[in-house]
Amino acid sequence: MALTLFRGLQSNCCRLYPSVFDARKHVRYFRVRSSQGQTATQEKQQTQLKASPKYEEALKNYEAVIGIETHVQLSTLTKAFCSCPYNYGDQPNTSVCPVCMGLPGALPVLNSKVIESAVKVGLALNCKLSLSSKFDRKQYFYPDLPKGYQISQFDIPIAAGGYLDVDLPVEFGGGHRKFGVTRVHMEEDAGKLLHTGNGSFSQVDLNRAGVPLLEIVSEPDMRTGTEAAEYAAELQRLVRYLGVSNGNMQEGSLRCDVNISVRPHGQLELGTKVEIKNLNSFSSVSRAIDYEILRQAQLHSQGQADEIVQETRLWEEGAQKTVTMRKKEGLADYRYFPEPDLPGVNLSEEYISAIRDSLPELPETKRRRYENMGLTMQDVLFLTNDINVAAFFDATIATGADIKLAANWIMGDIAAYMKNEKLSINDIKLTPRELGELIASIKGGTISGKIGKEILFELVAKGGTVKGLIQEKDLVQIADPSEIEKIVDKVLENNPKQLEQYRGGKTKLQGFFAGQIMKETKGKANPALLNKILLEKLNSKP
């Protein structure tokens, strides 16, 4: 770790609070555009460990027991215990105050939105809520921890004993799983260390210090990397549905630490537990676990199980492997005790039921509803992955649009457009009402499917209404037989040579005539009607 290179901390930065922070221009900082990020099912599997015979062999003889500890950064307007805002990527130490800097005499005051978020997540995870919980101090020394302790919850978490329903992706075999949630508790985030290039000193950025987190601990219910990654993806979906966090893994708004042990099938006793950190995407969760399963299974089968030690390992994205970060020397003693600066957290039944009533439809409920509508699991998983996409879909079918057609449009052309333009569904100009109108117009025969597609791209990019575009571009389908007949006659008249050839037996020329007619009508002729009339005319004796 970088820490071994520590040669002293540059502390002057904060000494002359607050003006001096502005002077720290030399510190590199990053501003990353907030993106929706990927979900597990969408991520490309870079390595196909699963397909490798070694992995298959390992799973045949060994079973992995996996639990996940997730930290979710809450997107409250201000930090957990002071009124500083937090924006990822801000200049270092520009969003700090005496409270989150841990200055002498400063005291924490709880942001009530933190409780609200915790209760929402607790309810969504089917947990039992503690009507009276409290905050505790978790004590350890580290330069990113300004008070020398983290305000957390120890023996009485705000929520405990819940579960999370997950539908595995179809391409990984599908299936429904229920993973237990041990506890959910509130705590504060620490700052960040910035190490200089030459390693001569380190600096502390306290912007993130005091940002509220929920720690969500799962039961050791997962058995494969895919299951673990899907559990994490479902958590991300859940917090986004609830609007309590952006759940962005790249920005560290959602962080997963994995605990994994491997044992021979049938053995009751658990194997030695290893913790894996530095998992910045769902696919790294999945791949790190699969790597670790293989590593431990091989040690088992080579009779070297004693080489599996309780330790924290780091996932190295570049090398695609886990390496030892630190070996545990007994349990750390955090000397927890109740936080005397904060009163206890008491929840009333009324407060809880008010929040329960305000919860949106959650992913699991939505999936079951879509499934009952007759959509395939693949469609269901796609549509429910993003709450905004699901809302768009729901709004579209609320206009009376055909369910399957609506799903196809959204998952097909609309999704492709969004992907190309790197837009979210809320950024496109198309409204659900117009998509409904478009589907109805095609179904009702006002326009052809081909024209529908053309209009769609116009609608998503520039907006407008289906009716307006049809009118403006004169795109109404020609479905009047007498009008089509006139055009057919005109085309036949203009191409006497081809007509003669057709009647001479070269029936393939029917396509040529159809093309000419479409050209004449700018593609608006009803194809079925056109073919019917054309055939009649071609085959009738002059």
Partner: protein, 541 residues
Amino acid sequence: MLSSAQTPRLLRSPAAATITAASLTFKCLHTSPILTPASTSPSPSQILTNRKALLSRQTSAVDLAKSFLQRLRRHEPELSSFLYVSPEDIVLKQAEELDNKIKNNEEVGPLAGVFVGVKDNICTYDMPSTAGSRILENYRPPFDATAVRKLRERGAIVIGKTNLDEFGMGSTTEGSAYQVTANPWDLSRVPGGSSGGSAAAVSARQCMVALGSDTGGSVRQPASFCGVVGLKPTYGRVSRYGLVAYASSLDVIGCFGSSVADAGILLNTISGFDNFDATSSKQEVPDYASQFVPLDYLESKPLKGLRVGVIHETLENGVDSEVVSSVRGAVSHLEELGCTVSEVSLPSFSLGLPAYYILASSESSSNLSRYDGVRYGNQVFGEELKSLYGDSRAEGLGSEVKMRILMGTYALSAGYYDAYYKRAQQVRTIIRNSFKDALVKNDILISPAAPSVAYKIGEKKNDPLAMYAGDIMTVNVNLAGLPALVLPCGFDGGSAGMPIGIQMIGAAFDEEKLLKIGHIFEQTLEGYSFIPPLIADEQTC
């Protein structure tokens, strides 16, 4: 509460009455009109006397400031009560602004022209706030503590920062990393602690009033040692925002004055709920000053019907006989004033000391973790993180502080938590309940403020257990979170000796009653002057 419609009878000559009401109003018993008697008593309110003089243009704020600064400087070499004194030009400029306001008949705050000393563990944005520790040497906070902000908003002028035991840990002020403060009554003795600087400064009239902090008796014991009034409010009455934390669940900012009235007026100013302290109370703040009944209007038994419980365990073995007899004398005086006195037994009283030292040390071990040399304060350069931490703390913290951090760390360690911290919390609950019961049966409880008078400098320096034992009278009150008022009630070895203080303990948020009783007690206590000989021949206020 007092309720009598009898014609007030004077206990002393009218010439000894004190309270003026320049802007504050005083209710006399229940229905009397606003009064403006002008006279002096054994403990006149400096705040009100000076306010009257200022508003009637008998004196100017600049003159007052000069006289306080002059006296401060004259005695500072022998007392060392201040760690920092505000530069003269700054103090005089503030005084001048006040004079201009008065000249222009502008409204001035209720504490206009009041020169306040502030204990150095209370943050002031314009002065260093070291908490008496080397690790915070030259540290200047970017904000005022809420109590200080309120004082300034009401016109008070902060004259300097007073000495203390490092982080408030000690009972003698010898634990300051910077200097040893002397007791104005006897320069070879300690002023008590940890707010020894504030107590000595008020006693020697280096400032009018002072803020202190009380975690286990740090306002009351030095008040007793220095012969001044010390008030420890109910936990939560005064915001702790800006008070450098020692033990968060026990800490409270308290008031020093040379009279009960001054301590009460000071409390009025700093009390109330604060958005920056989640443990501050939303309970309404009464106008404490309105409870002060001028001597002229007292009836013969002004405290008639008041039930006073004398805590039996505090007048037993281990308490100096002179202290016992002084307190007993004071109790007789209360009886003369009409109180019904009985003896109360609190069997859990002696458990307070060990429980206090476990809880306070535990919390302090956590609260002092932030002094790591990383963000502020003295940093010792380290080749690696561990040595940066270790050396910064080793050099920056004193031995008493280190001892308490070690004790607290031990008490909170896995495997010991239940035996120490948890058990101490259970004792705390027992103590709180026993006080609650006793205060249902009694309006106030009485004990000495300390088992002895001030001891010699160095006497207990190497005997921490003896020093800790001296806190027996006060720690229970912090554990119970109750308000207590200490006021001088006598001397040992006659009037030439060291002052002795009586402690009156009230129910939670009943400071009003304590101040009212204290004020009557103080005015009617005859034959004592609590101005130290050091300044007795000087013109004071």
